[in-house]
């Protein structure tokens, strides 16, 4: 993945650049939102949001592009001849995507540090929650990538569709759930339900000191609705990952392997 220039540019460079652009042009001044500490939290939340945008770029767009290329170049004629299970193929691709996505995520968080963002692990329990929710969100990304690849197969269209999914989910959830005020009040709760904003808001709670239910405007506009801080929300993200991951695993088996995907 890292040898593909598009992955490096769009998965690593673009989210970091976008973070800096947002910080310079769109974030309010420290004085207007209650001080430097509050601004540091807002920057931290912004970095989490755009970091997860980079994660989805890698796990969805780059992953789908790689899989489609393998199918189009008939590489699966060789891969199907090897004594490996389709689930192992999917798991291997997922783990590779996970490592690259972790790099993309950490880069934006580090750029945030350099810009004055503040992170604070809320408790010891936050560490496994952050790791697990990151992995679950990555699994959602690669699973959607497999499903889109199966439905479309043409590499140019796959890139277009996955990019559209990436941007639509980001904007329609108020920048990955960081600005729910962009949504009509009656639908704002969606930011705690759909995977991208749910993951971003879970991570924001566990990685920054953003209040869970502060009044709108005092914490960078992350609430309302309240941040998803209870275990049920981790379970909801797990549900998304297991459902989509299960579907993707079946597709790898029935479409790519038994169904001769790419032919």
């Amino acid at each position: 993945m890292l040898r593909t220039k598009a992955t490096v540019i769009w998965g690593f460079g673009f989210p970091a650049f976008w973070y800096l652009l947002t910080s310079v042009l769109f974030l309010p001044s420290a004085e207007s939102i209650g001080g430097t500490a509050v601004l540091a939290d807002v920057k931290g939340a912004t970095a989490v949001s755009l970091g997860l945008f980079g994660v989805l770029t890698v796990t969805l767009v780059a992953f789908a592009g790689g899989l489609t290329r393998d199918l189009e170049r008939k590489r699966y004629r060789k891969l199907r001849s090897l004594p490996i299970a389709p689930s192992a193929d999917f798991a291997g691709r997922f783990l590779a995507g996970l490592v690259v996505a972790a790099g993309a995520y950490c880069l934006v968080l580090l750029v945030g540090v350099a810009d004055g963002a503040d992170y604070a692990v809320r408790s010891l329990a936050s560490i496994p929650v952050v790791v697990v929710t990151f992995a679950l969100f990555s699994l959602v990304g690669v699973s959607v990538a497999v499903l889109v690849t199966w439905l479309v197969e043409d590499s140019e269209i796959v890139v277009g569709i996955t990019n559209a999914i990436l941007l639509l989910t980001f904007f329609l959830t108020g920048y990955n759930g960081m600005s729910p005020g962009m949504l009509p009040e009656r639908t704002r709760v969606v930011v705690n339900l759909v995977p991208n904003s749910l993951a971003a808001r879970l991570q924001t709670w566990h990685l920054t000191e953003t209040p869970a239910s502060a009044a709108a405007g005092t914490s960078g506009g992350v609430t309302p609705p309240a941040l998803p801080i209870t275990p049920e929300y981790v379970a909801l993200l797990a549900f998304w990952a297991i459902a989509l991951g299960g579907g993707a695993s079946v597709v790898m088996d029935r479409a790519v392997y038994s169904g001769e995907g790419g032919e």
Binding site: R73, K74, Y76, K78, R80, S81, P83, I84, E260
Partner: protein, 291 residues
């Protein structure tokens, strides 16, 4: 026991039929060569045997089992369909080594024997020539210690010296009890084979030992400087361009004297020879046997 047996094998891609009712038996510990023109279905046949494609009709057995069940018993080289261009040669080796349970470090000696400069292992495969890619594909495939190798056009893009080196490697493996099924449209590969199967129009049209097949090829008419009047003496009325001359296969009952007497131009050249390996290829893949 047959290493490979296909019965009534059929494969199509929608409206395009590639293989039709194909029967083939590959004997254990033999080198079998699939010969046929481009697009005759050799690659698809090899891929079906390897388990990379599922036939629509018929069956494929590898050591008495399905290709999927026999996956760890075989190693398949797919021309231009294996390597990841964005990875270096060394990374490609590592990638495939991790995917085959019987992979060994033999790739090093194969690359050395094929005159591959190992410094190039650290370059991306996208920078490789066709010949370098073929050598790497071969090294990866032959590094697996398995009883059956399936090689798709292994000598394509290789120069003559390297082809000789590859033949020596394959002969060594075969002497060690390995079965090898390879495809080619280069007559030079015929010398390596214990048996040759000719693929045409999605089926096997002739199969046997090279010397037996050669005995079945009619004598060859070579003509130079003669434009007309010779086609009626050769099979299928076909003369093949071969450099400055044209060649055809004499019909039954037509002798050298007959064709010499037809030519009245003293500058023209007409001769008849025994068939070569090139003629063997032309005969079985372009002239219907028995015609």
């Amino acid at each position: 026991m047959a290493a490979i047996e296909t019965r009534g094998l059929g494969k199509d891609f929608g409206d395009v039929g590639v293989l039709e009712a194909l029967d083939l038996e590959v004997h254990e510990e033999e080198i079998t060569l699939l010969m046929g023109p481009n697009g005759s279905g050799k690659t698809i046949l090899l891929t079906c045997i390897a388990g990379g494609l599922q036939p629509e009709t018929g069956k494929v057995e590898v050591f008495g089992r399905s290709p999927t069940e026999a996956g760890s018993q075989l190693s398949f080289m797919l021309q231009d369909g294996m390597l990841v261009d964005q990875l270096t040669g060394r990374e490609n080796v590592a990638f495939f080594r991790d995917l085959h349970p019987r992979a060994t470090e033999r790739w090093r000696e194969v690359l050395e024997a094929l005159a591959f400069d190992t410094d190039d292992l650290d370059r991306e495969v996208s920078e490789y020539s066709g010949g370098m890619k073929r050598k790497l594909e071969l090294a990866i495939t032959l590094a697996a210690d398995v009883p059956l190798y399936l090689l798709d056009e292994p000598t394509a893009a290789l120069d003559v010296t390297v082809v000789d080196a590859l033949h020596a490697i394959l002969a060594d493996l075969n002497a060690g009890g390995r079965t090898i099924l390879l495809s080619s449209h280069r007559p030079v590969d015929a010398g390596l084979a214990d048996r040759i199967a000719f693929v045409r129009n999605g089926g096997i049209v002739s199969e046997g030992r090279p010397e037996t097949l050669l005995e079945g090829v009619p004598r060859v008419l070579h003509v130079e400087g003669v434009r007309d009047g010779m086609r009626e003496y050769v099979r299928d009325e076909r003369l093949f361009e071969a450099g400055v001359e044209r060649r055809g296969f004499l019909r039954d009952g037509v002798g050298e004297e007959t064709v010499r007497n037809v030519v009245d131009d003293p500058t023209a050249s007409v001769r008849v020879t025994d068939p070569s390996v090139t003629d063997l290829f032309n005969y079985y893949v372009r002239i219907a046997p028995g015609d």
